[in-house]
């Protein structure tokens, strides 16, 4: 009997986590930046002018001026950046991580926590891989260069808005102006 429980435990690692957590931030960073030596955090603050400029490009307000960026590096070489952020889905916030290359292109998007009962398909590979290679200057809009998930339009739009915001923030913090 005990052995049966042990196998169940191995087969359903999901039992350990609350169901909506797909990846812990640490795990996500380790997987995405698996070739790097270390990941550190950097606190960045927007000026009023920068905040306004991003809001204008985004078409919506930014909730805060202070952001934490996770920087992956090997020695002095920077391998990439990551931002953890939230967007409102239909009724619950969606937490996701956007990883950006040193050139300012999306390296990967991972949905970390999804709290709604429907539309969770946004975390799946086929949806999030559409963001790969997108730059701040791309439209990044559902229906335009991002295909939505039928029945999860609101979640698709939310994650898309969040990825665009991450790229615009990256541009201000690290991009060549």
């Amino acid at each position: 009997m005990r052995r049966l429980f042990f196998f169940l435990f191995l087969l359903f690692p999901g039992l350990l986590n609350a169901e909506t957590i797909y990846l812990k931030p640490t795990e996500a960073l380790k997987i995405i930046f698996h070739e790097s030596k270390e990941v550190v955090s950097e606190k960045k603050t927007l000026t009023d002018a920068q905040k306004l400029s991003i809001e204008k490009k985004l078409g919506s307000k930014l909730e805060k001026k202070e952001w934490t960026v996770y920087v992956a590096r090997t020695g002095r070489k920077i391998d990439g950046y990551a931002l953890i952020d939230h967007e409102m889905g239909k009724s619950e916030p969606i937490t996701f991580l956007t990883a950006i290359t040193p050139e300012g292109e999306v390296k990967a998007v991972e949905v970390l926590v999804y709290r709604e009962s429907i539309g969770s398909e946004v975390h799946e590979g086929r949806f999030v891989k559409q963001y790969r290679g997108k730059k701040a200057s791309d439209p990044i809009r559902v229906g335009q260069d991002i295909a939505n998930i039928s029945g999860a339009t609101i979640s698709s739009r939310a994650v898309t808005r969040g990825v665009k915001r991450a790229l615009l923030l990256w541009e201000v913090f690290y991009g060549k102006v």
Binding site: G14, T26, E92, L112, V113, G151
Partner: protein
């Protein structure tokens, strides 16, 4: 002896598999020089709260206001069709209560839309119990007005699939590998005929409205149970394909009816690309003992002529275009033009001894426009051309305002 070895090999295989998974993930690994607490805090939802969330309490809902202008002598109607108040409570991360109370037709018909407990175990297996919306098609469960373009719900979702169809029961839902979502419930069934204390018909199936007139939760006899299920595939961005079924007796112990076994199956698909949505559904029902049901209805009311059919068949196809998609690609506003063709017959097959009324073999074309300044609010207008095999049918102009929060 043999069994023992089987267990050993299975155990060894599973263990090796798990170990190799862990190993594959840890082959190369950066040192994370950020504290686990800091990262957990970054991923917690603090700082982004929906306005309707108050700690573990959730307030949500939707509403719709309709104006139906009938062409010809039929009187027009203006109606606060639905005002739905949703309440949720999270006991913890895994046990959640969700409920909706529907004040239909401006507080005249309060009705429980659903109230269930979700036990979230893992993405592939969750348990739901309570008063559950039957997963028949898409609109029955996801019925917030801004999510469909016409003022009224499609006719198929009124006369073939009952509107706001819920049942009391329990079952499972989750995601299967390969992008398949499933739901499977055992639920209280519909009631074919319900008589009041005087022996008059309180509510029943009918030839023209199908199973529409059934609001039987609460007072359902609870004798006949049914099974309902749905499979949905949404793995490819832009595409959704689904199929649902319901099987159950509807006689509810009425010996004059017998079983009244209802089987309902449905298939639906939607594809969205370049600002265009293509949507379609096909629904079929079969009801045994329909003749008995009709005899019971005649016994209760000798003037009854709206005879229940033994089979119904209906389908629609809809095309919609988001006008701002190419015109104003930067805007968040959404302006949709759509047209839908529906073909449905609520008496496609009649029980022996009863004739179908050609007026129940109907077609409807709905053409209209829906404007969504934000995704949660829709202002709609459409025109419905209705006709039937009996050359009857009143056209209708509809205006609607819908929202959810």
């Amino acid at each position: 002896m043999k069994k023992k070895w089987q267990g050993f090999w299975a155990g060894l295989f599973v263990s090796l598999f798990s170990v190799s998974l862990v190993w594959a993930q840890t082959g190369h690994e950066p040192t994370i020089k950020v504290s686990e607490e800091e990262l957990q805090k970054a991923a917690s939802e603090e700082g982004l709260q929906r306005s309707g969330n108050f700690g573990p309490f959730h307030l949500f809902g939707y509403g719709e206001l309709h104006y139906n202008g009938k062409i010809g002598p039929t009187p027009n109607e203006i109606d606060f069709h639905r005002f739905v108040l949703g309440l949720g409570y999270d006991f913890n991360d895994r046990i959640k209560l969700r409920s909706e109370l529907d004040f239909e037709h401006a507080f005249k018909e309060p009705e429980l839309e659903f109230a269930y407990l979700d036990f979230l175990i893992q993405p592939s297996f969750n348990v739901r119990a309570g008063a559950i919306l039957v997963p028949m098609g898409v609109l029955n469960q996801h019925h917030e007005p801004p999510l469909f373009y016409s003022v009224e719900r499609p006719e198929i979702y009124r006369v073939i699939i009952p509107t706001s169809w819920q049942g009391a029961g329990a079952g499972f839902h989750g995601q299967l590998p390969g992008g398949l979502d499933y739901e499977l419930y055992g639920l209280s069934s519909l009631i074919a005929v319900q008589l009041d204390d005087t022996g008059a018909i309180a509510q029943s199936f009918s030839g023209s409205e199908g199973f529409h007139d059934d609001h039987s939760i609460g007072e359902a006899p609870g004798r006949d149970f049914g099974a309902a299920g749905r499979l949905e595939y949404k793995e490819i961005p832009g595409l959704r394909v689904g199929s649902s079924f319901f099987l159950g007796n509807t006689g509810q112990g009425n010996s004059a009816i017998g079983g009244g076994f209802l089987s309902m199956v449905e298939g639906d698909a939607k594809y969205s690309f370049e600002g265009i949505d293509l949507d379609g559904i096909l629904a079929f029902t079969n009801l045994t003992d329909a003749g008995n049901i009709d005899h019971v209805l005649i016994a209760a009311d000798p003037t009854f002529t709206d005879f229940v059919g033994s089979q119904m068949l209906g389908w629609y196809v809809e095309a919609a275009y988001h006008l701002f998609h190419h015109l104003l690609p930067q805007t968040e506003h959404d302006l949709v033009v759509f047209t839908r063709f529906e073909d449905f017959n609520t008496q496609s097959k009649m029980p022996a001894g009863f004739a179908a009324d050609p007026a129940n073999d109907r077609r409807t074309i709905t053409t209209g426009i829906s404007y969504l300044p934000i995704p949660q609010v829709a202002i709609k207008a459409d025109y419905m051309i209705n006709w039937s095999q009996a050359n009857a049918g009143v056209d209708q102009f509809n205006l609607g305002l819908g929202f959810y929060y």
